[in-house]
């Protein structure tokens, strides 16, 4: 098993899935799709269709950019979730919860842009009500499915707050801030009840505030993620001095190999102990 730490891949995931994804997504959303302000759910179907037809090509380009950005987002989640795994190691329940939630959330995230693209694809050539229905599904995926993102964020926060502190690389306040952020996003659930006002899917409190808060939270967690990588670099270098080069930092391109890297460590149980425990369980 490889024990060396490759900070370059971690930094790449964090930068690509965080800041780069954000810039790309906002570019597609604001400049091309022109979703500022976003169409209200109480618009008649014909008005929505006219709005889409009015800038159809730009809107489709915007959706292509947004779905490209969404595809990167999983890298960022992985770059954070791995630190939960570090604190759990042998019993990674919160890590597994994060991976499952992120996988579901990312799928829905991509489907949002997919539905908006399909809505615009034949806008003006089919019944406006069909366009409106597909359009609405995109928005419900975008905001109403917030529960999986909340499950992911809470798992991340609990990993910081409840897992053993000796291997933590994130400050405890980041866990508390994440829970506060998740509370803010939960307003997305209210879009099912309103077709106008602040809690409709184009409203300030159901959409703009959670969306804005999400990007602020993402920026803060990216900074903390980069600090965690730097801390791990330092820890790996120290560990290498104590235990040998197979615990060191690895820079891709050096092509160095470390012999005998598959040594058993003190955290791994001996075969005798495993069989003894299995025997007790059987009794």
């Amino acid at each position: 098993m490889e024990k060396r730490f490759t900070p370059k891949t971690h930094r790449l995931c964090l930068w690509m899935g965080g800041p780069f994804m954000s810039v790309l997504y906002i570019l597609g959303w604001v400049v091309f799709a022109r979703l500022v302000p976003a169409p209200a759910p109480n618009w008649p179907a014909e008005r929505l269709t006219d709005w889409l037809v009015g800038h159809q090509i730009q809107f489709l380009i915007g959706c292509a950019i947004m779905i490209g950005a969404a595809g990167l987002w999983g890298m960022w989640c992985a770059a954070l979730s791995v630190w939960t795994f570090k604190t759990e190691s042998r019993f990674p329940v919160l890590f597994a919860a994060q991976i499952i939630s992120v996988a579901a959330g990312l799928t829905i995230f991509i489907l949002d842009e997919l539905f908006w693209t399909v809505a615009a694809f034949r806008a003006g050539q089919r019944s406006p009500e069909i366009t409106q229905a597909i359009w609405d599904i995109g928005w419900f995926g975008f905001l109403f499915s917030i529960t999986v993102y909340i499950a992911w964020a809470v798992s991340l926060a609990l990993g910081i707050l409840w897992n053993p502190p000796e291997h933590q690389l994130f400050p405890r306040w980041a866990g508390f801030m994440t829970i506060g952020s998740a509370l803010c996003w939960s307003a997305g659930l209210l879009i099912a009840f309103f077709k106008q006002g602040q809690f409709a899917y184009n409203g300030g409190l159901a959409m703009w505030l959670p969306l804005g808060e999400f990007f602020v939270w993402l920026a803060v967690m990216t900074v903390l993620g980069l600090r965690a990588i730097s801390q791990q670099e330092e820890l790996s270098r120290r560990e290498a001095m104590e235990k040998g080069p197979h615990y060191d930092v690895y820079e891709p391109g050096e092509h160095e190999t470390v012999e005998s890297i598959d040594q058993p460590t003190s955290t791994e149980h001996s075969p005798e102990l495993v069989s003894e425990l299995a025997g007790q369980g059987a009794r």
Binding site: W173, F176, F194, L205
Partner: protein, 214 residues
């Protein structure tokens, strides 16, 4: 508030804004109640509510007549009663923390029960108030005033429910104190108390906006 020298006793975590006196350097440090993390949570949540309040003000400026009519339809007595419950609950929680500092966990438990009763009273009163509104035909779908009224006070109500759960855990922590609280017991109790005060503060903002502002 006088100066206090922190002893190594972990129970001293519960001291109010305790100042350490370093006799060699005369350096003094201040501590925050609970831990820094709970204040990150409070800052996040309060910022979100601050934006809620700003959006309320903006919406009111867009539809002044709708909001004026809506405000006249809210029940000021119900709002006052709920303010009383919130402030009293906060006072009980503060006194409960003080009782722990005075090595009186039994008194602290009684005060926490008092806070819990106030929180329950708040929920019952909210139920009565909302029921009267819906019976009169005012729902979150009536207009933008009632949308904000029901949703924002509803989000606050969820905070109160969470606060009651926190209170149960605080009560359990206090019950386990053997005269002097451990560092983790103190931290949890102060975190919970800070959260209660935040819920109280948010209510005061909501009360001013929905029941008092013309």
């Amino acid at each position: 508030m006088g100066e206090t020298t922190l002893a190594p006793d972990p129970g001293n975590i519960a001291l109010p804004i305790a100042r350490t006196r370093d006799t060699s350097s005369r350096m003094r440090t201040r501590r925050v109640p609970g831990e820094i993390g709970i204040w990150a949570f409070i800052l996040t949540d309060m910022s979100v509510f601050a934006i809620y309040f700003l959006v309320f003000a903006y919406s009111r400026s867009q539809e002044p007549e709708v909001f004026r009519q809506g405000r006249l339809l809210t029940s000021l007595p119900a709002g006052v009663v709920n303010t009383f419950f919130m402030l009293t609950a906060s006072l009980f929680v503060a006194l409960a923390v003080q009782a722990i500092r005075q090595r009186k966990p039994g008194t602290s438990q009684l005060l926490l029960v008092g806070a819990g009763l106030c929180g329950t009273g708040f929920i019952i009163n909210k139920h009565v108030e909302w029921s009267a509104k819906t019976a009169a035909g005012y729902t979150p779908l009536s207009d933008n005033f009632f949308q904000l009224y029901f949703v924002l006070t509803g989000i606050h109500l969820l905070h109160v429910l969470v606060a009651l759960v926190v209170l149960v855990y605080m009560f359990r922590k206090v019950r386990r104190i053997q005269r002097v609280p451990t560092a983790s017991q103190s931290r949890f109790i102060e975190n919970g108390a800070s959260y209660w005060h935040m819920v109280d503060l948010i209510w005061l903002g909501l009360f001013a906006l929905f029941y008092l502002a013309s």
